[in-house]
Subunit: 320 residues, 3 copies
């Protein structure tokens, strides 16, 4: 996709996966997020960009952080955020997701933010409704705003993404964060290394263009960025998963490993951290860690996503 003088860079009313975005679209979104990040530092943390617009948060999986981040992003744009509380919803009464969504849309909603356990749910929804759909995580498939905030954070720290060596460590197999990060990083020219036990990081991932290794130690000195995935404790008992002790031994980030990294290495984690598992507490809280900055940037990125999709739907202007 090429932007001309007449053609705006961002024309999407949905954000479904990072795959569908061009390098140019990603950079445009990150630039927009940068201008929104400043809003959160003001005492009056508000811009009127989406005043009178309605954002509905449809979270069919628990996720306090992501839900709060989107809710605060909507508020900061002066939109009205409304919660679709699944626990008391009519999906329990045998209604399908699409029926539910069409009903919500009929109430005059502008943007649906969907978190759903089924891969492809957001795309499915986007085909059924006329309002904007933002994917806040669908099964093990995609989590595009997480990838965008990770890219934002890397660019903020390193000044660029092109040419960087980035490792993603952990349960790649079941991670939508990993899938979205890999695609986003590759589109912006980073070299991605996937690290973890063979059962969770098989050689098959090489087909995605990533390097695969099971030896965390060996790659430490070359990395500019190391992103530690969250371990799902509920999966630890499943076959293919090592014991926690074994996992920490081979794939946990700790002070000793950090010493073997470049001095300016950036240690990332999508949160919430299992302290002492993926990350030793002193590394999580140390100067190399960008965990809290990822959270802060997540809000700016989500403001940009809500704003740009809504603008594209309205057919209007794109500058914030």
């Amino acid at each position: 996709m090429t932007a001309g003088i007449e053609r705006p860079v961002w024309t999407r009313k949905h954000l479904l996966t990072i795959n569908e975005l061009s390098r140019e679209e990603i950079l445009f979104l990150l630039d927009t997020a940068e201008s929104f990040k400043e809003v959160s530092t003001r005492s009056v943390k508000k811009v009127p960009a989406l005043r009178g617009r309605v954002v509905v948060l449809m979270f069919f999986e628990d996720s306090t952080r992501t839900r709060m981040s989107f809710e605060l992003a909507a508020q900061r744009l002066s939109a009205d955020a409304i919660d679709f509380a699944e626990k008391v919803s009519s999906t329990k009464k045998g209604e399908t997701l699409l029926d539910t969504a069409r009903n919500i849309e009929a109430m005059g909603v502008d943007i649906m933010v969907l978190r759903h356990p089924a891969a492809g749910a957001a795309e499915h929804l986007a085909r059924a409704v006329n309002c904007c759909v933002v994917n806040a995580g669908d099964g093990q498939h995609a989590h595009p705003t997480q990838a965008l905030l990770d890219l934002f954070t890397i660019r903020e720290h390193k000044g660029r993404i092109e040419g960087l060596n980035v490792a993603i460590v952990g349960d790649i197999l079941h991670s939508r964060v990993a899938r979205s990060d890999i695609r986003g990083l590759q589109k912006l020219g980073a070299r991605v290394t996937l690290v973890g036990p063979p059962t969770l990081v098989s050689r098959d991932f090489e087909a995605m263009g990533a390097r695969v290794t099971h030896d965390f130690e060996s790659i430490l000195p070359e990395m500019d960025v190391i992103s530690m995935l969250r371990i799902q404790k509920e999966r630890m008992t499943a076959s293919g998963f090592p014991s926690v002790r074994e996992y920490v031994h081979f794939y946990g980030m700790n002070r000793e490993r950090l010493r073997r990294c470049r001095p300016d290495v950036l240690i990332m984690h999508p949160g919430p951290v299992n302290r002492g598992i993926e990350l030793a507490a002193d590394v999580a809280d140390g100067p190399s860690s960008s965990i809290l900055r990822q959270v802060t940037n997540g809000l700016a990125v989500r403001m940009a996503v809500l704003f740009l999709c809504q603008q594209a739907a309205a057919g209007g202007e794109h500058a914030p």
Copy 2:
């Protein structure tokens, strides 16, 4: 009740049942809703009518749709909506509904929207508090805003209600929607036919002035409007209730039955639909169905209800 130049048409600060409303009051409310419906089509979906007012949503029964509809209606009027989350409420600590309500009122609330499993709960509440009370469904007794949105939708499609033949099909016995619809339709001059198995639609309903029949087929050709009630699956195992298969066979609306109706028949359903039970999927999604328009109109009607009741309580003017 007759409106003069001095006397405003709407003087009620509560909306408890459709029964208490005069024909004139209903029409005035529908006209007000019509002017509010336009607001929902704007890009900035807001009017300042209830700015600084507080609407508390007291839902003691699950109902995502109705709760969302009221919450969005409140937001669109610029009121602050606040959720009284029953699951964590002090009613669990042995407090009565009235104590709870008086406490909430003491916090300076303007309107209480109550959904409660006990018939008469809203009326009970209205006698105990000074703020406005809107009944959002009380047991099997009444659901006046559902009736009003049904009337609004019929009038919108047919241009009138007077003289129309309207069938209500299903579990009339346990339905607050049916009770409220019957009264509302009769007040505006429609002829109501109740349809369903004898155990759910007994001849006793003739005392309400409605025609009762157990033969759905026979009445299809005469109807202008057919409203299909939602089947409560949890009641299906109760005695008196036919099997689902039998119910669908005799009382489900499908393509064949639709073909026997007038070409301009309006098929209504309060939602959420059990697809393949009350309505075949192609009928639910077809051009005769007004399901989604009922949802859209529900919001406009609820804006009118909140606005008019609050205006009456404040003793102010009525024009939106």
Copy 3:
């Protein structure tokens, strides 16, 4: 702490316990609350004092009233209130309270209102974050806004607190309300008498400077204010707790006991009342009872707390 012309009276960005407040700070806060109480009587119940500020409600214990009171207080100051819904939070995923809080803070939150079952949780939190922390009840330790609203209500009714005889009746041992009330009342010069069965009101409380008695009858005629604590029914079966019948007999407030009090006695209760246990229904609803006024005043006091803490954090001016 002495206020000079240069030094503002209120310089705290956290409200953790009543203990830490000076007499002067308490009086300044009550005066500020008085000016906010007027706002709640307007038709547009809003002041722009905290516009664009974010208040996050972190309630790890159920408390509809206190949560609603803080949420309405935030709305009335034009702040954005956001709910941290514990039931779906990442604290379930093994995250600690402080990690959760640091993450929420990274989203640009201004004030955290914390209700937590662990004594000291609010203080713990205040040391970890840079934003304001307001204690909305921590274990059996403290509930400072309840104490402040009780002081506000007593002052409003009696014109003063200095020199008053105030009884607190019930389960002093397990009550954070009692602990906070005792300290607040003493700071403002009231004489506090603690009343209840020996297992719940031991002589040890005399060390706090309060009088202890197990004979409710004997002290009735001298009291200006009698505050009845809520009985936790779940504790009633524990050893040390009398039967409900016995409790009501010795420590319930009823018409007969009220007759033995001063005519202008003020009967208080933090709510929700167990009618027929702590208070007979006719006393709860009678002219001596200040229960609903306590609720109304709670909102004004919480507006003052949010406003003053935020102002102190921003380093700005203090007049409302």
